[in-house]
Amino acid sequence: MSEITKTASPATARPLMKTLLPWIGFFILLLALPNIFSSNVGLYTMNLMGIFVIFALSYNMLLGQGGMLSFGHAVYFGLGGFMSVHFMNYIEDGDFTFPMYLIPIFGGLIGLVFGIIIGSFSTRRAGTVFAMISLGVGELMAASSLIFVAFFGGEEGVSGDRTTGPDLMGINFGQDIHIYYLIAGWVFVTVALMYLFSRTPAGRMANAVRDNAERAEFVGYSQRKVRFVSFCASGFFAGIAGGLFALNFEIVTEENLNALTSGTVLLMAYIGGVGFFIGPIVGAVIFTLLQSILSNYTDIWQLYVGILFVLTVMYVPQGLTGIFMMHTAAWRMRRVGSLILPYLRAGIPALAMLTGIAAFLETIHHMRSSVEGETAMSLMGVDFDSHSFVAWIVILALVVVGGYLTRSQLPQLKEAWEMANKPPAQREGAGS
């Protein structure tokens, strides 16, 4: 992944344009998105996505970059949110003057402060010890939030108003589109900063400590301090995400710093792929989509997310980004095309099987949760009776036939995969 080129040429040989291109694309995408998805639901979803993108990336500074498995990352997110919403209220009360759009800074600072405090002892060890401490601190904070009502607002949380304070060129962020651009701006800046962090000595050593903590000590680095630096930075960015959450929803509750949110960020980072910088971005986008779109269609969307997570852990530990990245070798050799047909041949039956499984789950759920005697249900536009024999035969057939056909296609898929990835030397001439 190193961008360094040949021995003779200096390190800056990588053209600036090539480095900047993805960022320019990212910037344009952020600007363009609300024009494509201009509905209220679209904006709501994208706002949430932006917040989760920052949160998941900050989490990956621990898990993917630093090898620290945290079960309590919501602490920094939630504290950032609470701090921000309190400052929003101070501004509203006229206690002091501060532009509302910079509020997430306070979230970041409180995240950083708590990162320093908690990191000072939790980063002593990696692995299980670190994970257990993070879990404990997470539970401690969640419990405190119901005890210290003055700060955490008890069960109803703390609410604020983002439209007060000095505005930005007449914009007071009352509308969703304004808050979208505000979040987009923060997303762009923080994503860039987190990327740049990974390209600094501290960021590089975080990877080294993740790979081999012992060896890092024999090149002059204390593994504990390396982890500590990452931990603090991670807390800072999680706090910023929390601050944006406060601005966006104008309310922060105990739920924002409890184990559920900590679990969510872990799911997002892992599903997206912790081994890649953009992995958590992909994960946050997909998770938010599932959460806000799938939940419109089914009550058991969380079950699907759970299944997706388990499947990811079992079969593609590199995450969804990893699946794409697996194709880079074939892509370079221009052989991805040869994979399309095998993918379709295995993918269509697999889709049928998945549909069958989903139908099975939905029908069971319907039978259990619907009103007594109500058996008519609708799935993907198909109306049927959940107690009818035919419906169950169809579901069973989808699962069994789909599963069987998928299985029968796997050998030829594997063969096609190996063909596509065979080093060019074996086919003709020498490769690049």
């Binding site: 200096p10 000595p201 000590e217």
Partner: protein, 250 residues
């Protein structure tokens, strides 16, 4: 002149078992010193004690006259002692280039900086490229270190250890498991890379030892039974009995 490394009555126990039983050893500045001995004699343990991986149970380790016993490994490294490992110990998911660069960052004074962009540090990257050139991995510098061949990983291991310019280099069985031609290359590399520095190595291959070392110490059951020039070691009766004899029994 103070010795580069001075061990005084060094002891290490694991529970009731004493592995290192009062080692006294002085290694002069600029010397190439080999430690040999039968399996289980405590050679690697001795290395771990000197480099800070293990805490000592008794006695002292001095580096250039300064007591470094029980300092953490990174402190010892910063004082100018760097080591390699018997079992390849690299950063497997990072590129070869990054592996070497990790070995250079501290001595280039970057510490835990998060305000320098690593790819813009011209001097650091140039020096990294030089080291990679020296260990002969220039054509492999962009691939993850974990997929290198065994011999290449050994070379990288030495490269990381030597990159930082520490004045005492410790190599733990640098040629273990290598073929003849690979061993020859490794010896040439070690010779080149430790030029003008103090080298301490553990080695099983007697050819390598007698070829490289200025002095040899023989460690048997946690004690140094002889420390002398290769010539004298080869002719020493005690060594032949204790070491070569033990070797024959195995």
């Amino acid at each position: 002149m103070t010795a580069a490394i001075e061990l005084q009555d060094l002891r290490k126990s694991f529970g009731p078992t004493e592995i290192i039983r009062g080692v006294n050893l002085s290694i002069a500045d600029g010397e190439r010193h080999a430690i040999i001995g039968p399996n289980g004699a405590g050679k690697s343990t001795l290395f771990h004690l000197i480099s800070g991986r293990y805490n000592v149970s008794g006695g002292t380790v001095s580096l250039h006259g300064e007591n470094i016993s029980n300092l953490p490994p990174y402190e010892i490294y910063r004082k100018g002692l760097s080591r390699s490992f018997q079992v390849t110990n690299i950063f497997p998911n990072m590129s070869v280039f990054e592996n070497v660069r990790c070995g250079l960052m501290w001595v280039h004074d970057y510490k835990y900086s998060f305000w320098h962009l690593i790819d813009r540090q011209k001097e650091l990257n140039e020096r990294t490229a030089e080291v990679i050139e020296e260990i002969g991995l220039t054509s492999r510098q962009h691939i993850p270190a974990g997929v290198l061949t065994y011999a290449e990983q050994r070379a990288l291991e030495i490269g990381i250890a030597a990159a930082g310019g520490a004045d005492v280099i410790m190599l733990d069985e640098p040629t273990a498991g290598m073929s003849h031609s690979e061993t020859d290359q490794a010896i040439a590399l070690i010779r080149k890379i430790t030029e003008g520095r103090t080298l301490v190595m553990v080695e099983h291959d007697m050819g390598v030892v007698f070829d490289l070392a200025d002095r040899i110490s023989v460690l048997v059951y946690g004690e140094i039974i002889a420390s002398d020039t290769p010539e004298n070691i080869r002719n020493s009766k005690a060594v032949q009995e204790a070491y070569l004899g033990a070797e024959a029994e195995e």
